[in-house]
């Protein structure tokens, strides 16, 4: 039978520990509430209002959502965003995985090359944008290289409606492939060498060993990269803002949903519409991420 006095001091100890726990997580909770939850709830509220920023919002219910369904610019931005996501996910996953496989092998100057390969991740996106604007001048360095083969006077990398979105995808890939390569590399390093050795002893080729042994065990890494890269691609803004002509041009082929939110909110004084687009973008990202996680729950292999 429990001693009543012991029971009282034990619950007091637990209460004190809970109080201190609450106290120490309070800053994080406040930060989350103020900078994440409150803006999110406010944004959802603004999506139901006519809000220009210059005057208080006026409730309009679902009017913004109804208008957006017919909004040509909004529909264009969805297509642009999906195109950018497609270009910034699957190819990036494959190339970064191949790079990780390469750097997993031992060869002379591997560490130096890995460092150089990783360097695009280091500068801010704005610096990257400024540098690439110069490189992608119609008569710039990249054109000079291509000209050795194609003999063209100029190439409109950024002003052609066809080449411009591809240029954005390539620049984005250049900055993020090294980062995902590192994550793949961490995943590869976590696979015990004995498993590879066992596969080879059983007569598996390099590709069979990779496809049948290593790749399944990279499942959790793949899920992480897929989710993060997809979310980042859907939120594309900085490159398109900094590099594309007139922030999203030409002819809005680079106007992603993120850029459209900025245009509606801070250029066109349509903050209600901007909030609506951001809610829709949030919903799309949530759905895609849930689908990805659901699909990845199939045959998952783990070392545990």
């Amino acid at each position: 039978m429990a001693n009543p006095s012991t029971k009282g001091s034990k619950s007091g100890f637990v209460a004190r520990r809970q109080w201190w726990g609450l106290f120490f997580v309070l800053p994080t909770v406040v930060f989350f509430l103020v900078f994440f939850l409150y803006p999110m709830i406010t944004g959802i509220y603004y999506s139901f209002t006519d809000f220009t920023l210059l005057k208080p919002p006026t409730w309009v219910g679902l009017q913004n959502y109804q208008d957006l369904v017919k909004d040509r610019l909004f529909l264009t931005s969805i297509g642009v965003t999906l195109g950018f996501v497609l270009g910034s996910t699957l190819p990036v996953w494959i190339v970064s995985l191949l790079a990780a496989l390469l750097f997993y092998q031992k060869f002379p100057a591997r560490e130096l090359l890995k460092l150089l390969f990783f360097s695009p991740v280091l500068p801010s996106l704005i610096v990257v944008a400024i540098v690439w604007r110069i490189l992608l001048h119609p008569n710039g360095i990249l054109t000079s290289v291509i000209r050795l083969v194609l003999h063209v006077p100029e190439i409109n990398w950024l002003d052609s409606p066809t080449l411009s979105p591809l240029s954005m995808i390539l620049i984005n890939a250049w900055t993020i492939i090294p980062f995902y390569m590192l994550i793949w590399l961490a995943g590869l390093t976590g696979i015990p060498q004995e498993l590879r050795d066992a596969a080879r002893v059983d007569g598996a080729t390099f590709s069979q060993s990779f496809l049948r042994v290593e790749l399944p065990l990279l499942g959790p890494t793949a899920v992480f990269i897929a989710a993060i890269s997809t979310i980042n691609a859907f939120q594309a803004f900085t490159l398109q803002y900094a590099i594309s002509p007139n922030r999203g041009g030409p002819i809005d082929v680079n106007t992603t949903m993120g850029l459209l939110i900025w245009k509606y909110g801070f250029q066109y004084y349509r903050m209600g519409d901007a909030a609506t687009v951001s809610v829709i973008l949030f919903a799309i990202i949530m759905i895609v991420t849930i689908i990805q996680l659901a699909l990845s729950r199939g045959d998952q292999y783990s070392l545990n």
Binding site: Q18, L33, L53, K55, G249
Partner: protein, 442 residues
């Protein structure tokens, strides 16, 4: 029980921190009572966009103003140009906006529609009445029209601008041309001159443009393209009725000229470096989108330049140049009445030295007595600008300005990329009319 109490206290703290800082958005308030001196101390929050040559002059005037008006304290902030629109709008939304700000006429339509602007307090600004303000400026009714709505003035100009054509005389002479004699009077003749001034490398790529249009922002469709349409007797945007007239012969003629410039004659295009940067770098021989404020930059860049009027079309019906635009000091209608008075007084002080501002910052404030002075008449470039301003009108001062401008730019780029002009212009007219219908003040 104690645990529940602790949780409740924590949640209340979080709630207070989250919502305690919210302030109501400032809405339109009453205009300041006329002519009363604010005896109690007031603070005027002043925001200016960043124009480095102007800053030392502002600082000197602010210091003297506060000395002369010890009851008025000025909190001055200079905002980088790229951040201006975003910061101003969010500050006004949060109720922490400035009392006096230096805003361009591009946004004035929206601000006027939203009731942000206070009408001028002429007496606080040191004038007998509003008419006296117009009289104090050269062609006041025309040049202050940028801040006039329904016969009410809503600002004092910090700079009045139009574009004229600058030639890099060294590049012209290198091409065997004399800017004084050979500068073209028509757009049609400009094409031939530009070809002589264009330099290409062995691969056929342009290394020096003779002339090019300003491609890189939608507003130039309303400052430059629409002005060219007006030369032909058209007008894409009717500011009074909020209607668009884009699928017209005049627009088609200008759009065809733009198309030929890029695709037929290959003399320029949106893919090249911004005009102003290339002109200052000596890679563009003629630039027709600099205002008079550009002259100090050319002096710094050691460009040997001369100024010319804009070309007109050979079949022009109107003798206008490019659209006028301006930056005005505007007062926040949500500021307290005594602050509004102090703000107008400050605005008047900051616009009281037109000679200094033109000389040192390249900013033209069009005060009548200054324009009549020898200093102005002997100025190398200002008479050309003043003449062009007198012949031209302001760009449409509409709510939805930037959205309309971007829609027009989209149409232009579609045509440049080979889409059928009739289809594009018809669709653009529908799109812009939809934008105007939503933006129109009720």
């Amino acid at each position: 029980m104690r645990q529940k109490l602790m949780i409740l206290v924590s949640l209340l703290t979080v709630f207070a921190l989250t919502f305690g800082g919210c302030a109501p958005v400032q809405t339109g308030g009453a205009a300041a009572p006329s002519g009363e001196q604010a005896a109690a101390p007031v603070t005027v929050k002043l925001w200016m966009h960043n124009h480095p040559p102007r800053l030392p002059l502002d600082e000197a005037i602010l210091a003297q103003f506060q000395k002369d008006n010890p009851n008025i304290k000025v909190e001055s902030t200079v905002i980088p140009d790229q951040e201006w629109d975003t910061k101003l709008a969010t500050a006004l939304a949060s109720g922490s906006g400035p009392d006096l700000f230096n805003q361009a006429t591009f946004a004035i339509g929206e601000f006027q529609k939203q009731g942000i602007l206070a009408p001028i307090d002429a007496k606080a600004a040191g004038y007998a009445d509003q008419a006296a303000v117009y009289n104090a400026y050269e062609s006041g009714n025309a040049l202050l029209a940028g801040a006039t709505f329904d016969d009410m003035l809503y600002g004092l100009p910090t700079e009045l601008s139009a574009y004229a054509c600058y030639t890099n005389d060294d590049l012209w002479k290198a091409a065997g041309l004399d800017p004084a004699k050979d500068f073209p009077k028509t757009w049609e003749a400009l094409k031939d001159v530009a070809e002589k001034l264009t330099v290409r490398d062995a691969n056929g790529a342009i290394t020096q443009r003779g002339f090019d249009f300003k491609w890189d922002a939608g507003i130039f469709m309303l400052l430059i393209f629409n002005a060219m349409v007006q030369q032909l007797g058209g007008n894409m945007i009717d500011e009074t009725t909020y209607t668009a007239h884009i699928n017209t012969p005049e627009v088609k003629q200008v759009m065809q000229y733009y198309y030929d410039w890029v695709n037929t004659w290959k003399l320029g295009g949106p893919q090249y470096t911004s005009n102003r940067a290339d002109f200052l770098a000596g890679k563009l021989a003629t630039d027709c989108d600099f205002g008079n404020w550009g002259a100090p930059q050319m002096v710094d860049a050691k460009i040997n330049f001369s100024i010319h009027k804009q070309p007109r079309f050979a079949n022009a019906k109107n003798d206008n140049g490019m659209a006028n635009y301006a930056y005005f000091f505007m007062v926040n209608s949500g500021a307290a009445p005594e602050v509004q008075q102090a703000a107008w007084k400050l605005a008047s002080a900051l616009t009281s030295q037109p000679g200094e501002y033109l000389d040192k910052a390249g900013l033209f404030q069009a005060k009548a007595d200054f324009v009549a002075s020898d200093a102005f008449k002997n100025n190398k470039i200002m008479p050309v600008f003043l003449e062009e301003m007198g012949l031209s009108t302001y760009h449409p001062r509409i709510a939805g300005f930037f959205e309309v401008a971007d829609a027009l730019m989209r149409a232009r780029d579609r045509v440049l990329n080979g889409e059928n002009m009739d289809t594009v212009l018809a669709e653009a007219e529908t799109e812009v009319n939809d934008i105007l219908a939503k933006a129109k003040p009720q």
